[in-house]
């Protein structure tokens, strides 16, 4: 980012040549993020560094906490203080955050967590790519829940989708994960940030009834209750315990059923509105590539090369990983003879595609276990293999 742009307010309108990590930070600022709580971890630290530089200029606050557990707890607190908040981390840090992500899901707290993935398990490959946290983003916390995770494939999308994560988290009231990877985080590309008035910014719905009549967890047909926050006179009562519409703990099977069903259904029933996909040359395809993040870039290159050779192949790029696009995969399984899934893990999305394809087509994963990306040639070889 140039000096000039760093001096601009929330929205750094203009053309930039920058990294995915900085773009994700700018997208968050453009979305209205005013609090960042985080802990340094490679390969995400540039997001924290950029927020430390930018937030104070726009009357926001940056706190470097003592660990990732405190970071996620802090951003939940800030969200209940009425501001949009975020953190950024990588796999090991995300592992530490999952309990409080569960608190965010149960208490319906909007916030954004960026996970710039590296190779795992454990300390793994701190400075190298992985895409191994796909399942963790879905199932990391205990209990039944639906969640949203989005995966950018280029620097522009790091901006656009960080903003989208905030919009979704505010609209549906839950922690949303921007699931980046090391290559996207560190690569430099062109980024165009539009003027503020051209951006769609969504903020949480506020209650309109008076405090003495207000039921903080009573939802209308959207299944998402309006959110009163601290200091507004509503005397909010927030607990991770199973609670009733008043927010009071109610540890009965009936209350559990009602509460857990609703926090799941508010995502399940809106799946079609949430899911974003890119379809590339799929119309006449007999082979489909399903990929996401950095892997999808190489996959697109492979599709271009294969098409030149006259092979009918296309790409379905999963921008939204969770909720998973079951219906789209099901349709694709009817259309194509084979689905190939290049991913930098040992079969996390492949497993989902197998499930959603219902055995109607051949499903084949093309795995890298971390530290390197697929080349288009390697994926092309996979396409040409019969």
């Amino acid at each position: 980012m140039s000096k000039k742009n760093e001096d601009s307010p929330e929205v750094a309108t203009g053309q930039h040549y920058t990294t995915g990590n900085h773009a994700a930070a700018e997208g968050s600022l453009a979305a209205g993020c005013k609090f960042f709580g985080g802990y340094p971890i490679t390969p995400s630290s540039e997001i924290a560094e950029h927020m430390a530089l930018r937030l104070p200029k726009i009357n926001g606050n940056f706190v470097q906490f003592e660990d990732e557990i405190a970071s996620i707890a802090g951003i939940l607190g800030a969200s209940w203080g009425g501001v949009k908040s975020m953190t950024a981390t990588s796999g090991p840090g995300y592992s530490l955050m999952v309990e409080n992500i569960g608190l965010g899901l149960m208490t319906e707290t909007p916030c954004v967590i960026v996970n710039v993935q590296r190779g795992g398990p454990s300390t793994g490959l701190p400075t190298l790519i992985g895409q191994q946290d796909v399942m963790q983003a879905r199932w990391g916390s205990h209990g039944d829940y639906e969640t949203i995770a989005i995966s950018p494939s280029n620097v522009q999308e790091c901006f656009d989708l960080a903003l989208e994560c905030f919009n979704l988290s505010e609209q549906y009231r839950l922690p949303v994960t921007l699931l980046m990877d090391e290559v996207i985080g560190h690569m430099s590309e062109r980024l165009v940030i539009p003027p503020k008035e051209e951006l769609t910014i969504i903020s949480r719905k506020k209650p309109t009834d008076p405090p003495d009549k207000h039921l903080p967890y009573k939802a209308d047909d959207s299944l998402v209750p309006p959110m009163a926050t601290a200091g507004e006179g509503y005397r909010v009562m927030v607990t991770g315990l199973t609670h009733d519409e008043r927010g009071y703990p109610d540890l009965t099977p009936e209350a559990q059923d009602k509460a857990v069903r609703r926090i799941n259904d508010k995502i399940r029933l809106n799946k079609d509105k949430i899911i974003k996909l890119e379809e590339y040359m799929l119309d006449d395809a007999k082979t489909a590539i399903v990929s996401f993040g950095t892997s999808a870039r190489a996959a697109k290159g492979a599709v271009n090369r294969a098409r030149k050779k006259g092979i009918k192949v296309g790409l379905l790029r999963l921008i939204t990983l969770w909720p998973f696009p079951d219906e789209k995969i099901d349709q694709l399984a009817d259309q194509v003879d084979r689905i190939i899934i290049p991913e930098i893990n040992y079969g996390q999305v492949t497993r989902e595609v197998e499930r959603a394809a219902h055995g109607k087509t051949e499903v084949k994963g093309d795995f890298r276990l971390g530290g390197a990306i697929h080349t288009p040639q390697e994926i092309l070889k996979e396409i040409e293999r019969n």
């Binding site: 005013k34 003592e66 707890a73 802090g74 991770g240």
Partner: protein
């Protein structure tokens, strides 16, 4: 004078704490003779005494018996995860410098699983008042040994007596930078209220330790099975030493229990002050 004449029953539909407690949540879950009911009462009295605007008060708890207090209080109240009340409170607090955030939780929550957050919040001089009700054990889970259990104390996971050194909480708070540190036993209700009030009116990281009575899971195993016995024990052992060197206030089985106000420091920049300063620096010319 007969007993009947001495004690007059006051009939009233109004309770002094009406409006300050969430009536729909009463009765509370605390055991008979547990001191948490009184502590809860005293917190409200202190908030009233400090004349804080109700809208500007938030109460944050972790998990455990004491952690349940937040949910009975009729303020913006947050019952978070085990050990994480303090960082939640920091995030909540920095969003509005006018907000008074009170963390009320137990010794296990704040000093075992949450110990790291406590020391860093004190170091940062975060603008929160932390009230720890130290009942010397994990009550809600059935009486296990904890980080403040004294040597020789019997608990379900210390059937031969606790063998580890306990934390000296006032000293820990003071050495990490807390600007206000006091300790009272559950018996000292008026002094406790004064300390709570002072802590609430002070900016920065303020800490009050309350030695709580837990007859059910602490007392039963340690010859103090009745609430009254624990209070008598506090009465017998307590000695007020305002300004005592916090290094000398550790609690052991047969020691005196030193109570009082130990630390009260003026004019130390708080986390909020520092964040505001960063905002000013970021906007200074040439930055």
């Amino acid at each position: 004078m007969s007993e009947e004449e001495e004690f007059q029953l006051i009939e009233s539909d109004v309770h002094p704490l009406d409006g300050y407690l969430r009536e729909g949540r009463i009765p509370h879950i605390f055991c008979p003779a547990c001191s948490l009911g009184s502590v809860m009462n005293i917190i409200v009295e202190a908030i009233k005494e400090a004349k804080l605007e109700n809208k500007k008060v938030s109460v944050v708890s972790g998990i455990g018996c004491t952690g349940r207090i937040s949910g009975y209080l009729n303020y913006d109240s947050f019952h978070t995860t085990h050990g994480r009340a303090i960082p939640f409170a920091i995030g909540l607090g920095v969003t509005d410098p006018e907000r008074k955030v009170i963390v009320i939780s137990g010794d296990g929550d704040l000093f075992a699983i949450g110990g790291n957050h406590f020391i860093h919040a004190a170091r940062r001089n975060a603008d929160i008042t932390v009230i720890c009700v130290n009942n010397f054990n994990y009550g809600m889970t059935g009486g296990q040994v904890g980080p403040t259990s004294y040597k020789g104390q019997y608990q379900s996971t210390a059937p031969y007596g606790a063998v580890e050194e306990p934390f000296n909480l006032p000293d820990l708070a003071a050495s990490c930078g807390a600007v206000y540190v006091a300790r009272w036993s559950a018996l000292d209700v008026r002094r406790m209220k004064d300390s709570f009030t002072e802590a609430l009116l002070k900016k920065g990281f303020t800490f009050v330790e309350v030695l709580g009575s837990c007859p059910t899971t602490f007392g039963r195993r340690n010859q103090l099975a009745e609430g009254k016995k624990i209070l008598e024990y506090f009465h017998e052992k307590s000695e007020i030493q305002h300004g005592a060197d916090t290094k000398t206030v550790g609690i052991s089985k047969d020691s005196k229990i030193i109570v009082g106000k130990f630390i009260d420091i003026e004019d130390k920049p708080t986390l909020t002050d520092n964040l505001m300063a960063v905002q000013r620096m970021s906007k200074a010319k040439g930055k």
